[in-house]
């Protein structure tokens, strides 16, 4: 394996100072370590942020559920607070990858990596999340920019993700049978005045399907979206699923999500 300098800072400032174009933050390591091992990436500095206490934990504040960035998927899945306030989010976390991945992978790592087939980005989009970093607050809709691309700057560290607690919500996932990432994932959140349908896996980056969201906002039933023909021209096509199939999955799971709410 390639050599690198390893750092384990105790606070966010120090971690941020250590960062450069040649560094990586080590959270769960579920993406960064395989990338190094397979030679897809090499770094001068690996900055472990798991020792920074304030980055981990779950709390409820008013209408918000706040999850620290180094909180593991398994912790979110089993949290009483999450199960009570946003049960679909606990379920999402509980179906990420496999047990090993859930016991190491973190929410901060997941959204910072912004894999087009990751689950959490869809939750952030549907649940009007605010991403708190050491520098600013970023709305989810401004955070996920493109494939593996976010609004984060080199030295910026995600500290926590603040979700707006919905009336109802549901997450439907069609897992890739090999990796168990989402081939398509549909996150539906219903608020008093608005319904958000966020889709992951289908395109190069997570997105809100405005057509589905609008129709469901005015009439929250499967009949409202019956017969909608989604445009599959920008959807991914690979050995696991064609664009046409992905479009079908988005519709199918959107309906299933409505039914489940």
């Amino acid at each position: 394996m390639k050599t690198f300098n390893y750092h384990a800072p105790k606070d966010v400032n120090e971690a941020s100072k250590l960062a450069s174009v040649n560094s990586v933050f080590l959270a769960g390591g579920m993406t960064s370590i395989p990338s190094i091992k397979l030679g897809l990436a090499s770094y001068k500095d690996v900055i472990n942020i798991k020792h920074i206490k304030k980055l981990s934990g779950i709390k409820v504040a008013g209408k918000s559920l706040i999850i620290g960035s180094t909180t593991k998927h398994a912790e979110v899945a089993s949290s009483k607070d999450v199960q009570k306030e946003i049960p679909s989010l606990a379920k999402l976390a509980g179906r990420i990858g496999d047990a090993q991945v859930r016991n190491r992978g973190t929410i901060g790592g997941s959204i910072s990596n912004n894999d087009p087939s990751a689950c959490y980005p869809s939750a952030c989009m549907a649940l009007n999340a605010i991403i708190h970093t050491n520098e600013r607050e970023i709305e989810a809709s401004n955070f996920f920019i493109g494939m593996f691309e976010t609004a984060l700057k080199k030295n910026e560290i995600v500290e926590a993700v603040e979700f707006q607690i919905p009336e109802k919500s549901n997450y439907q996932k069609h897992p890739n049978p090999a990796s168990r990432y989402a081939i398509v994932g549909v996150y539906l959140a219903k608020y008093k005045d608005k319904v958000n349908v966020a889709v992951t896996g289908a395109k190069s980056c997570v997105y809100i399907d405005s057509d589905l969201s609008k129709k469901l906002s005015s009439n929250f039933s499967t009949s409202a979206i019956e017969g909608i023909k989604l445009d599959s021209s920008e959807m991914n096509s690979d050995i696991h699923a064609s664009a046409e199939y992905r479009a079908n999955l988005v519709m199918t799971y959107a309906k299933k999500a409505v039914e489940a709410c």
Partner: protein, 793 residues
């Protein structure tokens, strides 16, 4: 003493495996060892124009870098095909040279070209990146069906055709077809699979400059065979100067039968550099270079009468060998495939024609079931389709064509000694509640789902041995098995076997057998295998042969021990030999009821003049001391397990996802030595078969890149893909071995793919789809179902 054979003894080896005390090849480290990394072809087909080592040789830690030129200079031979197949026109099969390091041409992605040996793994890897190979990239041949039309891969091998083989009688088949009421036809693809043993291949080689012996620790299913091949064909070292040790091996499924390039290269190089060398495959290397399985394209036809009688069978198959023919590469799609393709049925006329082709893909060889899953898939798809087209219940149609008598002279090659196919089918129907299926289908339909049921009745020929038979079919060696039973003076026993355990549990089953034969406690018995310096020769483990051939050799060796012991007991008890009975570990004088335990006899045989005997020998005159016996067993026939598997699936037509709802397997393995272990074998086989049917697929793109070379893209089935397996057994004893046992290692993988696919296709109202039945494929089939307004009957 209660019999151990037949009881659920816990696996002795599990303590070692589950507590991390197993010792695998990668766990072996030898002082002063170096590390090997192979530079592999990134191209499916290329001419190697120039290799520049200059930068790599200057890299830190490099000990040596060797190429195909050097290995050729040292006259080290290449990899071999172990089985000679003749074409229908009488010509010999065409085999290309397969040097351990490619010299002029690279023929598949991953083929080794250069070995870099360094002081550390990191240094070896870094230096390997500095090796520069100048390739002239050529157009590769990838597609199985199209291979004969592609550019010639190996000089002199026209149409990339290794052989065009026929088994059976075309004329008789044509005549039978002329009499048929209906001809049922299928076009099938038997998808290519990566074996995916949990432990990647590895080797550690150690050349001793004083004894001039090479020791090769390796991940092999058959260390003796590896030594033989490396000596006789590779010229690496004479057999007495080459020790091959296969310690704990974490699964093989056929992929560890072959001697591979890396083992030959590292053994040879260790002698050259006079230092030990370690090589451990990374998972990507396993995907690219372990021999793959299956990869057939088949057109088959079954001639039937309106009342469901089978008259004739045709099978035209193209089998992909990959870039080179390996040890079982040529027999797998011929004699392991053709004879079984007529299945468990009386079919008066049949033939199988196989064209084996070379392509620029990883070599294809035996993978769990080897040829027999492909055969069973062919016939069982045909039979199921025939039932649909004839409107006869699928189990009834099978019943009508089962043989009524055993021995059953099967159409093409085999005479099956024993079986009762009807009993297996009846039991499977009962256990799966076959008759209640329509009610379950209605229930599924009420919730918008499709439900299907599929049956697969199989037999297979395994226990690969009868030397006379396999040699007459072209095998390069006889395939018997040997055993040696050694008593220590104080009564513990070492059982040496030529079989090899890489997960099968021989430490347990072989000890059970020997303990029963010798009437001693299992704890007193150690099973020793996997080291050419220990015990006699052996042919290894594959083709479900360990128990039926290797296990029987142990029985025979034990019986020789008892025969010798009887002579000594007679002398000690002062009676004649025929007045001695051997029971429960004791030699008993029938009249006086005086006894000697087998332990006492062993003691006497090693220390004949001890204090107990007033220092006078207790041995009959002229008897050699010691208690060690060897047996070689060469059975009279193959072993023929059989059974019926029934699978039920439910499909969500909106997503196309297939869920295996119920799986019932009823198998006849003759006498069962350890139900625990047999059930484990059946479970594993079914898991791999469901994997083939629904998930697994080794896909190359048109340029010959393996695009499913990691677990992110190659779907291994997992526990949550399966229902609880419902297992049952019937028993007709094998008549060709004293234990009455039949092979059980591959049956699950042989029977299950057609059971699953028949269920999927049943749910789809007969619409055919190819394996693996992935969600998208099934979704597309469901869409066209809706269009045709089909309602599952």
């Amino acid at each position: 003493m209660a019999s151990l054979v037949g009881s659920r003894v816990e696996r002795k080896e599990d303590k070692r495996f589950l507590t991390g005390k197993g010792k695998y090849t990668a766990d072996i480290n030898i002082a002063n060892q170096t590390y090997a990394v192979f530079v592999r072809s990134p191209h499916a087909r290329a001419k190697i124009q120039k290799i520049d080592l200059s930068r790599a040789l200057r890299a830190s830690g490099v000990v040596s870098i060797l190429t195909g030129d050097e290995i050729a200079k040292d006259k080290i031979g290449g990899l071999i095909a172990g089985w000679a197949i003749r074409s229908e026109d009488g010509t010999e099969m065409k085999i290309p040279a397969n040097p351990p390091l490619a010299k002029e041409h690279a023929n598949f992605v991953g083929e080794p070209i250069v070995v870099v040996i360094a002081e550390s793994l990191d240094e070896a890897k870094a230096a390997a990146e500095l090796v520069s190979v100048d390739y002239k990239v050529l157009k590769g041949v990838v597609n199985t069906a199209e291979a004969m039309n592609g550019e010639t891969i190996h000089e002199g091998i026209d149409k990339n055709l290794c052989f065009d083989w026929l088994l059976g009688d075309r004329k008789a088949v044509e005549q039978a077809f002329a009499k048929a009421d209906k001809i049922i036809k299928v076009d099938l693809i038997n998808n290519r699979l990566v074996p995916n043993a949990m432990e990647p291949r590895a080797c550690v080689t150690d050349y001793n400059t004083a004894s001039e012996e090479i020791t090769l620790y390796t991940t092999s299913q058959n260390p003796h065979l590896s030594r033989l091949i490396m000596s006789a064909f590779g010229g690496v070292a004479p057999e007495n100067k080459l020790r091959v040790v296969a310690p704990d091996v974490g699964g093989g499924f056929g992929s560890k039968i072959n001697v591979y390039n890396e083992e030959i290269v590292c053994s040879w190089a260790s002698k050259k550099i006079e230092r030990p060398i370690k090589w451990v495959a990374e998972r990507t290397e396993s995907f690219l270079t372990d021999t793959h399985g299956r990869d057939h394209v088949t057109h088959a036809e079954l001639a039937v009468t309106n009342d469901g009688k089978f008259l004739g069978f045709k099978n035209e198959t193209i089998a992909n060998l990959g870039a080179y023919a390996r040890v079982f590469g040529t027999v797998t799609p011929t004699y392991l495939f053709g004879p079984c393709a007529t299945g468990v049925y009386v079919i008066p006329a049949a033939y199988t024609n196989v064209k084996a082709v070379y392509t620029n893909t990883a070599p294809v060889d035996a993978y769990r079931g080897a040829g027999r899953p492909e055969a069973t898939y062919t016939i069982e798809r045909l039979v199921e389709k025939a039932a649909m087209e004839l409107g006869i219940d699928k189990t009834e149609l099978r019943m009508r064509n089962f043989p009524k008598q055993f021995p059953f002279k099967q159409t093409l090659v085999h005479t099956v000694d024993s079986g009762d196919y009807g009993a297996g089918l009846e039991k499977a129907k009962k256990m799966s509640d076959y008759d209640g299926f329509q009610a379950r289908r209605k229930k599924s339909e009420a919730s918008g789902k499709l439900r299907g049921i599929g049956v697969s009745s199989y037999f297979e020929a395994c226990g690969i041995a009868p030397s006379a038979a396999v040699m007459s079919l072209g095998c390069g060696v006889g395939l018997w098995e040997s055993a040696e039973v050694r008593f220590n003076p104080t009564g513990q026993i070492s059982v040496y076997t030529g079989s090899h355990s890489h997960g099968q549990g021989h430490d347990t089953t072989f000890a059970q057998i020997a303990a029963d034969e010798l009437g001693v406690a299992m704890e007193n018995i150690d099973v020793v295998h996997g080291d050419t310096n220990k015990g006699t020769f052996g042919m290894g483990t594959y083709g479900s042969r360990s128990l039926t051939v290797g296990g029987v050799a142990i029985v025979n060796a034990c019986r020789k021990i008892i025969a010798k012991g009887k002579k000594v007991a007679a002398k000690m008890l002062e009676v004649s030999e025929n007045e001695i009975d051997f029971k429960n570990g004791e030699f008993v004088a029938l009249k006086s009821n005086k006894k000697k335990t087998i332990g006492e006899i062993a003691f006497a045989l090693y220390l004949p003049g001890s204090r107990d005997s007033d220092f006078k020998s207790q041995l009959p005159e002229g008897m050699e001391p010691g208690l060690i016996e060897t047996a070689f067993f060469d059975p009279a026939n193959f072993s023929f397990p059989a059974g019926t598997h029934i699978c039920e699936v439910e499909i969500d037509p909106e997503t196309g996802e297939v869920k295996v709802e119920k799986y019932t397997a009823v198998d006849d393995f003759g006498r069962i030595v350890n139900p625990n272990i047999v059930e484990g074998q059946v479970h594993g086989g079914i898991a791999q078969g469901i994997g083939q049917a629904l998930y697994e697929n080794a896909q190359y793109d048109e340029t010959g890149q393996l695009i499913t070379a990691s677990y992110m893209d190659y779907t291994m089935p997992r526990a949550d893909n399966f229902p609880e397996f419902n297992l049952g057994f019937t028993c007709t004893l094998a008549t060709t071995n004293p234990l009455g046992v039949k092979g059980c290692g591959e049956a699950g993988a042989i029977a299950s793919p057609p059971a699953v696919m028949n269920a999927v296709i049943d749910a789809l109202g007969g619409q055919e789809i190819t394996m693996p039945a992935t969600a998208e494929k099934v979704w597309r089939a469901c869409k066209s179902l809706k269009k045709s307004n089909y309602k599952a009957a």
